[in-house]
């Protein structure tokens, strides 16, 4: 029962489209084709651009955070070597300047937290559950970066920085909005241009159609005036030839009919 209804809906939809397409003028068909092409192209370009930007943004963010982690690691080398947690905490305090960083931690060789920075005193919830080696990862709404603290080729600890992804998402959303606005603007421009340019094709065709009506009414002296070298121009010349032939044969038939009528009169 359901499938039948769906099929009916689909064919009803299709019928509607067919009806619309069937009754569109050349002008509208042309404009629709051009607009459809433009919009598809713009959408594709926009999507690719957004994807590329998202990927680049992630990569840049990860690199920046990694660099910051390395700098922190270098600055608290001594603090870790001489077990001065207060000094390490001070070094981490500099992270306040970077508003997207929610957690910064220095871990000792044993993997235990040696000193920590929490943005706005968020609390230990933002700490990563386990230490990892030198790498970065996106997850749980954060970008997490680990960097080893190295003293003369010996790893004496690890630095972990965690950054909120909200700023990145906010920027992406902004960019998407801009691109969508651009899409609209470009579409409007496309509409404006296409509705002018479509006359190149539809003009001659309309003129031909009008001439056909005129000639159909009986004015066999009417000629189509299309000079272009393309197929429509050829169609116009053929049309004119056809009209000329029709005029000639009509004239001959008229002449014949007149002669017959005259001969009948003479016989009577």
């Amino acid at each position: 029962m359901d499938r039948k209804k769906k099929q009916e809906k689909h064919s009803g939809f299709r019928q509607m489209i067919m009806f619309v397409l069937h009754n569109m003028t050349i002008k509208h068909k042309l404009i629709s084709i051009i607009m459809a092409t433009c919009i598809v192209a713009l959408l594709l370009a926009g999507t690719v651009f957004i994807l590329w930007e998202w990927s680049t943004l992630r990569h840049t963010m990860a690199q920046n955070l990694s660099t910051q982690a390395e700098m922190i690691a270098d600055n608290c080398k001594a603090a870790v070597a001489f077990e001065d947690a207060m000094d390490a905490k001070k070094t981490l305090g500099a992270l306040k300047a970077e508003t997207s960083i929610v957690f910064g931690g220095v871990y000792g060789k044993d993997g235990k937290l040696f000193a920590g920075y929490y943005k706005d005193n968020i609390g230990a919830g933002v700490q990563p559950s386990e230490l990892q080696k030198d790498r970065y990862s996106f997850g749980e709404g954060f970008l997490t970066v680990f960097k080893p603290i190295v003293l003369d080729a010996d790893t004496i600890g690890t630095v972990c920085l965690r950054s909120d992804l909200q700023p990145m998402y906010a920027m992406l959303k902004r960019n998407i909005k801009v691109i969508i606005s651009l899409l609209f603007l470009a579409s409007m421009a496309a509409y404006f241009v296409s509705s002018r340019l479509q006359r190149v094709i539809s003009g001659p065709i309309l003129s031909l159609a009008e001439s056909a009506i005129t000639i159909g009414k009986g004015e066999l002296d009417h000629r189509v005036n299309i000079q272009s070298g393309d197929e429509i121009g050829h169609l116009a010349s053929s049309f004119n030839e056809m009209t000329e032939n029709l005029r000639k044969s009509t004239t001959s038939i008229d002449n014949l009919n007149r002669e017959i009528a005259e001969r009948k009169q003479v016989e009577e």
């Binding site: 600055n75 080398k77 001594a78 603090a79 070597a81 001489f82 077990e83 001065d84 207060m86 000094d87 003293l151 003369d152 010996d154």
Partner: protein, 204 residues
């Protein structure tokens, strides 16, 4: 029965000193690690460091409190150089042996001067000035653990603060020994004496 107990007691008492170096206390394990780490944050003049494979020498003079604390370090390398821990007898004893054999005294003092770091044990309290004098101008990083060590001319002095090992540094003495101490290390010092003494006493 009683005799047996007495014998057992005596054996235990006598036996103890015969044991090998006792496991170093946590304090000296940390101090040994710090001595190793100091090397990373102090710059010796080129002549002292040398270009070749000469090892970096950590000297310990006096009654050695470290025991096996240096074990984790002796196999390590710094800047491609090996580490060597040299123990010296108490200065007073050195002088006594010197009275009998002057050349021995001279050789020992030469050895002392070759050290990059020299840890002066608390047992040498009375001889500090003499020791510091004999290694003067030889770019030796002198480290002590008694009060007034910096004032006597030493460069680094260990200080205990609530069971934590801290240290104080004398920039004047470091400059005198042509040693450059990195700022990362300086700012960890509990007290800095010298040209930067605008810092004076630091808390925590």
């Amino acid at each position: 029965m009683k005799i047996k107990t007495y014998i057992l007691f005596t054996v235990l008492l006598v036996g103890s000193p015969a044991l090998a170096d006792p496991t170093a206390s946590r304090e000296y394990q940390v101090k040994a690690a710090f001595l190793y780490n100091f090397i990373q944050f102090v710059d010796w003049p080129k002549e002292k460091m040398g270009d070749g494979n000469e090892p970096i020498i950590i000297g310990v003079i006096g009654k050695d409190p470290f025991g096996d604390a240096f074990d984790p370090i002796v196999d390590k390398e710094i800047h491609g150089k090996k580490l060597l821990v040299k123990r010296f007898m108490a200065f007073e004893e050195l002088k006594k042996t010197g009275e009998k054999d002057k050349s021995l005294l001279d050789r020992e003092i030469e050895s002392l001067r070759k050290c990059h770091l020299l840890f002066i044990c608390s047992s040498e309290d009375k001889s500090i000035s003499e020791i510091l004098n004999s290694v003067k101008d030889h770019s030796v990083l002198t480290i002590g653990e008694v009060q007034g060590f910096l004032e006597a001319g030493g460069i680094v002095n260990f200080v205990m603060e609530e069971k934590k090992v801290r240290f104080e540094i004398s920039i004047t003495a470091a400059k005198g020994a042509k040693l450059k101490i990195r700022s990362q290390l300086l700012r960890l010092a509990k007290r800095v004496v010298g040209e930067d003494s605008g810092k004076g006493n630091k808390n925590g």
